[in-house]
Symmetry: C2
Subunit: 342 residues, 2 copies
């Protein structure tokens, strides 16, 4: 469809259940996402329960809607993000991600070339992650009733029998590890939106984390994983504290933050700990598992900057120990520094 | 939260991953949707594969986004619709619907009372349908970047072993049955939007159809079911024809349409066959199963107007036989009569 598409845009008819919608499905979504369940073209994907049962004894199910602005950015786009984000939300429970649904809400007037770029990006990211997009939906709203494109994905995976990662497993003395530098995604989007002109070196960390997560299943003593997206590492630390009933203490000096990200933060008086990431784990591990987890993370390019940033405390508070020996409570902000970050 | 909520509205902070979002989850979504998987508050719902395996050998998975305008209408609201629509998409495959995800995209400024009404409606509809909302997400976009509220749901069910409903099962000679009057939902929304003033007797048919569908599993000769939403019965007839490689022929005289719906159609020169329904099945059945299926449908209030409207033909076309013996091709319209119908 490349030639006719150059100047073509989404119209209300593309969301109508009529011929225009069928043509969009046939020419774009179905060929790019193609897999046996989707190609059956029933109202629901039909997937063997046996495939799930072989992979685990619990189904993991998660959803996110993606409303990021802008829809294209260094390191990714809204389509890649919609696959990575939900695959990661499934995987941090210890599950092997298997299937995705996707729902598009398109604004009338969206260039078809933009949509094609997004759909290709989703298809490539899903293929690389070993995940199939098996069912979907497209709605169109009139100009001004949505901003370009919103995508929802829901993901299904299977958690291997015996694996019990979760915040309720966290114990005082556990170490807290982050899998890499903090705030890259948030700083990249903020730089674009505020036109700070700091392009060099800024790129979203948007990535599927399954290759980092899967080897951790074989290490006894891993307690809980979360990916630090909206709300940043701060939000995850509060979730760990609230969910376990204990507290956490981290060291400011240990936080891995790229120079350019630190620059964006200082310029705007913001805190990289609160910035969204799209490819970073926060992991709670028993002290005896710390080195094995760090070694495992360091063996993969996505985890080469992994480092211990603190530990779990009996005292139920979230504290940051500063460079000069000061210690302060790390509040969960009322709101994130910037909207539509994911 | 009822008192403080009266004048309160959604702000950007409610979608930020910070405290405001936590408070919204804690005060609204979590208590109303409460169930064991959701209450664990992990990033993914964890559901026993055993529960699925007991209910069937194939998982059914479907998704839809809901962008209907207006969000409240006679017979329902966007929340009820978001549960019914996806539950029905899972159930028409023969599955027992079990779990839903939900993703909200909220416009800054949405009154919290409206959101609460929608969430209550979702919770009640899901409870009545025996379905749990086990995982969710909330995003907020700035005023003007979305229209009030969009909801995505994804649904999971299990298809009993041996059941093989699907368009590929359809054979020439099969009868085509609709479960009740056509176009009620479309006419209701159109009447509101065009201010036709025909309120009396107009109400959306928005309903969970599992009670109609489940007994059909025990009747041999049921070939395929679809719920006739966007694109109406016409779209389903085309799906049946395309998916089976055969054709269909229906009788205009047999079509069950309420007087008031016929009135809306005649006023605007529109076709009730193309109108969206939100609680109507189109069913293809072997001739020997026709009476048993009609009897089963008639035994439930949702199916009391069920009737045979036509049959499957060798000739691969979709035809409407008119009242005066004429016969014409029933084209799939380029687009539906009205946008944002669901």
């Amino acid at each position: 469809m490349s030639n006719a598409m150059n100047e073509a845009v989404i119209t209300m008819a593309h969301g109508s259940g009529g011929r225009a919608m069928q043509e969009l499905l046939d020419s774009l979504f179905l060929p790019l996402f193609s897999n046996p369940a989707l190609d059956e073209r029933e109202d629901q994907a039909r997937l063997p329960v046996e495939t799930l049962a072989r992979a685990g004894d619990r189904l993991a199910f998660s959803t996110d809607s993606y409303v990021i602005d802008p829809i294209f950015f260094p390191g990714g786009d809204i389509g890649k993000l919609a696959v990575c984000g939900t695959v990661n939300d499934v995987a941090v429970g210890g599950a092997q991600p298997l299937y995705l649904s996707c729902g598009f809400i398109l604004e009338e007037g969206l260039p078809l070339t933009d949509l094609e770029r997004i759909v290709r990006s989703m298809a490539e990211t899903a293929r690389a992650a070993g995940v199939q997009i098996v069912t979907g939906d497209t709605k169109v709203v009139q100009r001004g009733a949505a901003d370009k494109v919103f995508i929802n994905t829901a993901g299904i995976g299977a958690i291997p029998a015996g694996l019990a990662w979760g915040v309720s497993q966290i114990r005082p003395g556990d170490r807290l590890i982050v899998s890499g530098t903090l705030g890259d995604h948030g700083a990249t989007i903020l730089n674009l939106r505020e036109q700070l002109g700091l392009e060099a070196g800024l790129s979203s960390d948007c990535a599927v984390l399954t290759p980092l997560i899967a080897p951790l299943r074989d290490i006894p003593g891993v307690r809980a994983l979360r990916d630090a997206t909206r709300g940043g590492v701060t939000a995850i630390l509060h979730e760990f504290a609230q969910g376990s009933g204990f507290g956490v203490e981290i060291s400011e000096q240990s936080l891995p933050v790229k120079e350019v990200v630190r620059g964006v933060c200082e310029l705007l008086g913001l805190e990289p700990l609160n910035f969204a990431n799209e490819g970073k784990l926060v992991i709670a591990v028993a002290p005896e598992a710390e080195q094995a987890v760090l070694d495992s993370l360091h063996s993969h390019p996505l985890g080469r900057d992994a480092v211990t940033i603190g530990s779990v405390t009996e005292r139920a508070s979230v504290r940051l120990n500063g460079i000069f020996g000061t210690s302060r409570l790390l509040d969960l902000p009322h709101s994130e520094p910037l909207p539509r970050i994911c």
